[in-house]
């Protein structure tokens, strides 16, 4: 019974990683870059929810929508100002810029909102759900996180596979030049990708902080790295892969915390990543790209 509890909270944590990983994987798939500032967008989203919901008592849904809007704007701005001028630069330059943006966001947050931890109130005000005759009590946050993530995932998959804009995104991801010649506004599609990824990061931030309620300017860093790992784990560029990778990562992390060692749990997570990549270098659902020689 206890195992079930750890498993469910692992899936919940994993769902948050999955939401963040979606941002990494979509941006990688479409813009062919690793946006290491993505984790810090979560932190900004967290602060937005904190200032509106925790301090001013807005309705939680309104607060999350506000945070999504701010993060969407932030994501588009980052892309426009920092990454777009480097569109044809070597990928290393873009990567370093992304790390720079990450530091910029963290330090701006420290300057603006100070580095003292803020204690976050959960946006979910439902009672814990007890199952198996009260033997196991699961916090409502856990369930809500899983449900919200699954819904977002389904909508996103449907959007990408079935709509005109989704097709355009896939086209840009496969062959930017050819897509442009089909009349697709590549810059617009890349902006949209950043917008979607960043708004999901805001949701992830609100959900993450509801379960782990300490908010500091570096809150986004570790979940950001883990979500990146999840994206690679599942096969970077693949949306279902990001989801699977995220959930598995959360479960592995939680179970190793519970049964092996709290201190070693992160080490175990990364060890699993290394093993998976040794066996399957493209990740679990990654597509093998044949290189023409």
């Amino acid at each position: 019974m206890q195992f079930l509890g750890y498993l469910i909270s692992g899936i919940s944590l994993g769902s948050v990683y999955a939401l963040i990983a979606l941002g990494y994987t979509m941006v990688y798939g479409i813009a062919k870059m690793l946006n290491f500032a993505h984790g810090d967008v979560i932190m900004v989203g967290g602060y937005m929810v904190y200032f509106t919901f925790c301090s001013r008592g807005w309705h939680p849904l309104l607060a999350v929508l506000f945070a999504m809007a701010v993060c969407t704007l932030l994501g588009i701005t980052i892309e426009r100002v920092a990454y777009r001028p480097l569109r044809s630069a070597p990928s290393l330059a873009v990567l370093i810029t992304a790390i720079g943006v990450s530091f910029l966001l963290q330090n701006s947050a420290m300057l603006l909102w100070k580095s003292d931890p803020k204690s976050f109130t959960s946006i979910i005000s439902m009672d814990p759900i007890s199952i198996a005759g009260g033997q196991l009590s699961i916090p409502a946050e856990t369930i809500v996180t899983i449900v919200v993530s699954v819904i977002i995932m389904i909508v996103l998959l449907w959007f990408v596979n079935k709509t005109r804009i989704g097709h355009a995104m896939k086209a840009v991801s496969e062959d930017r030049g050819a897509a442009q010649l089909m009349g697709i506004n590549v810059n617009g599609i890349i902006s949209l990708t950043f917008a979607i990824g960043s708004s999901l990061a805001a949701v992830a931030g609100a959900l993450l902080l509801s379960s782990y309620p300490t908010l500091v300017p570096t809150t986004g860093a570790m979940p950001g790295i883990k979500a990146f790992v999840a994206a690679v784990f599942g096969g970077i560029g693949s949306i279902p892969g990001a989801f699977l990778g995220g959930v598995l990562l959360g479960v592995i992390e939680n179970l190793s915390k519970a049964y092996i060692s709290t201190q070693l749990s992160d080490a175990i997570v990364f060890l699993v990543l290394i093993i998976v990549l040794l066996v399957k270098p493209t990740g679990l659902l990654g597509k093998k790209i044949a290189v023409k020689v």
Binding site: R164, I165, A171, A178
Partner: protein
């Protein structure tokens, strides 16, 4: 006024003048050929026409609209579509979806209609499916609409690429070596396809090709490039008898 009017087009890469003084006049419903030895600047000319490269000098006007140095998506909307020397389909997408991407700017609905899956979305998607199937039918590959593009045999991938280009309802279609890598039967079939496209769609076609039999048999007007400059222009007969063209292809005395 001609559909496409190109005057004095030129571009250089570093110290290399890849194309200079390129001019062309294209009328609707006609077939034009652009030939020349390897490295003559044919594909470079195509790249300038489609906005992949920004020309250093010269002017391109399509249907009265100045498209010189505009972005590829602007030019695509203005009415030029192309295929590539090495096939560049969206390989992991279905045959049908490839064609639908080609319609990107022709059938539109806002993102919110897409997200909420309302009536607008459904009717537009249906319209797109229908149009795409009709196009695929013209090329005889409608029965393979659900295949992943990379599963198609080579000749059909070429057809699909033309199909995708036509989906954007262009006024001018550029074909970059459509017969490359095809066997004689496929080439023959392609010739019929290209003719059919011109007749059924009434658009202008400009093609680059190395297969001389193909070009001479299909094009009404041919422009010959060598070292980035036009060395001959005219109907197939004039061009094939031009001593400079023969020299360029077979090697001759420079005089």
């Amino acid at each position: 006024m001609a559909l496409l009017e190109v005057t004095n087009l030129g571009i250089s890469f570093g110290g290399l003048q890849a194309v200079s003084g390129f001019r062309l006049s294209v009328e609707s419903g006609h077939l034009y050929g652009l030939i020349g030895p390897n490295g003559a600047g044919k594909t470079t000319a195509f790249n300038m026409l489609t906005g992949m490269y920004v020309p250093d000098e010269g002017n391109i006007t399509l249907d009265g609209v100045d498209i010189t140095g505009k972005t590829p998506e602007f030019i695509s909307k203005a009415g030029i579509a192309r295929t590539f020397q090495n096939i560049r389909l969206f390989k992991r997408m279905s045959v049908l979806d490839n064609v639908k991407v080609g319609m990107h700017n022709k059938v539109t609905y806002g993102m919110w209609h897409g997200i909420f899956r309302d009536g607008v979305f459904r009717s537009r998607e249906k319209e797109m499916d229908q149009k795409a199937m009709e196009l695929l039918d013209v090329f005889g590959i409608a029965d393979k609409a659900d295949y992943v593009a990379s599963q198609l045999p080579y000749g059909e991938q070429r057809k699909l690429e033309i199909c995708r280009a036509l989906a954007s309802e262009p006024k001018l279609l550029l074909l970059d070596e459509p017969a490359a890598g095809m066997n004689p039967n496929e080439t023959l079939e392609l010739r019929e396809t290209v003719r059919k496209v011109r007749d059924d769609f009434g658009i202008a076609i400009l093609l680059i090709e190395h297969d001389m039999k193909f070009v001479m048999g299909i094009c009404e007007e041919i422009t010959v490039l060598e070292y980035g400059k036009i060395i001959a222009h005219g109907d197939p007969e004039t061009v094939s008898n031009d001593p400079r063209v023969i020299a360029a292809y077979l090697g001759g005395d420079d005089d």
